[in-house]
Symmetry: C2
Subunit: 256 residues, 2 copies
């Protein structure tokens, strides 16, 4: 394979929940030793970049936070480009820390440019959704950090940000701008940070649609791993075809 | 006007919030004295039929609960027709009392036929939406008591059932069946209870889309009142044309 760099998904590729996947450390070490460039691209919207980097270091990955790209980073980049910084967050966890570096997230003091919707868990109350709805009605645009339908947890399937984005779109008649994978702009941000064109880069992920489909749509090649949310049925049913399928990122050395 | 009966909206036509509209009592008395048949058709999903009738009697309207038609009644009629009675309610207020007369609303004991979504206010938590989502994923169908986007309250605009129906549709890929106005089946239920064909009946309402548009689509004529949520702008912009526009239901005698 003629390749100079990699974009690597986190959850389902390096770890699942609080457990690192077997061989993932060796896989990353292999890429590092051979001098490949790589960045991490995750659709997670509950943790700030610093907390994600800390989590990876606890697993033993020697990762700098600037090599991690998440939807909040893309949202902030867009706001910077537009010179806007007043936003209302519908998020949970500590992801607000990423936004605080650029945005004024305290609503109630005048007009708001963007309502930013992430996977907000129990914070997604009727009261908060009503506040967001009124702010959008008054002129704010909707930024969807991701528009996934659901995700798998130990307690069963849980609604992701997508359904709530759809609810606000229905209520206001406005369409959200989606920040994370499979958005082309999102991949571009990581590619340009690596200084490589899409044709020299391979995406490694466990989601046939968001990772593989998104990467190929952005001009990259893509490897699907059989870990995380991988499903043989989804692979067979999909019109998207990965360039390779491997048991886990541990096998990346053999493939190259 | 050659007419034998009326369908009459409640909120915005007879009262607004907790205040009866001036002349509404006289309007209803006029219809009664002249021997017109009439039924009440409301999209409210927070109150059971009995509570609605009690509210009307407090205002002085001599109304029997069997003359009131609400989306829960339509939902129950459908479930009866299909011989199904296991449902999960996403509602608030005492509307569950209507359902209890036919349905088993206690989820957790086996499969569920329908998830019934009304205007649920603060009951629309992330936890409850997740429960509904899993039940739909396991095979239940979605019944939307109404699919309105929002409604006006003294505290400002509030999300109605529609956005949450849209969220569950997005999450599950299933389409909801809408029970209330402007559904043709809903009007038919009240018409057949009156024993009159649509061509002999006039709808009186304050909503140009749900009331006037819905009624005309069901073959009735329709009068728009300038009370409740009436808006001159909405009337002028709409392609729907009412057969008459009157200041309030108090003026129904003059029109006839």
């Amino acid at each position: 394979m003629d390749v100079k760099g990699f974009l690597i998904d986190l959850d389902g590729v390096l770890y699942v929940g609080d457990t690192a996947l077997e061989g993932a450390l060796q896989g990353i070490d292999f890429l590092k030793e051979r001098g490949y460039r790589f960045r991490f691209v995750s659709n997670t919207t509950r943790k700030c970049r610093r907390t994600l980097a800390k989590k990876l270091r606890l697993f033993g990955f020697a990762v700098d936070e600037t090599s991690i790209f998440t939807p909040p980073l893309a949202a902030i980049a867009r706001m910077k480009a537009e010179g806007k910084h007043r936003c209302m967050l519908l998020t949970t966890g500590d992801v607000y820390k990423d936004f605080e570096q650029w945005c004024n997230t305290r609503v109630g003091s005048g007009p708001v440019d963007y309502v930013v919707v992430g996977d907000a868990g129990d914070t997604m109350t009727y009261r908060n959704l009503n506040r967001a709805f009124r702010v959008i009605n008054d002129g704010a645009e909707i930024i969807a950090l991701e528009k996934d339908r659901f995700w798998m947890t130990p307690e069963g399937l849980m609604l992701s940000a997508g359904p709530f984005v759809a609810a606000l779109e229905y209520a206001t008649g406005k369409s959200a701008t989606v920040m994370g994978k499979p958005s082309r702009d999102f991949f571009s941000m990581a590619l340009s940070d690596m200084g490589l064109p899409a044709c020299d880069v391979v995406m490694i992920g466990d989601d046939i649609v968001t990772d593989v489909g998104g990467a190929k749509n952005a001009g990259m090649r893509a490897i699907l791993v059989r870990t995380g949310k991988f499903s043989q049925v989804s692979l067979e049913r999909s019109t998207v075809k990965p360039d390779a399928v491997i048991d886990s990122i541990a096998g990346i050395g053999d493939l190259l």
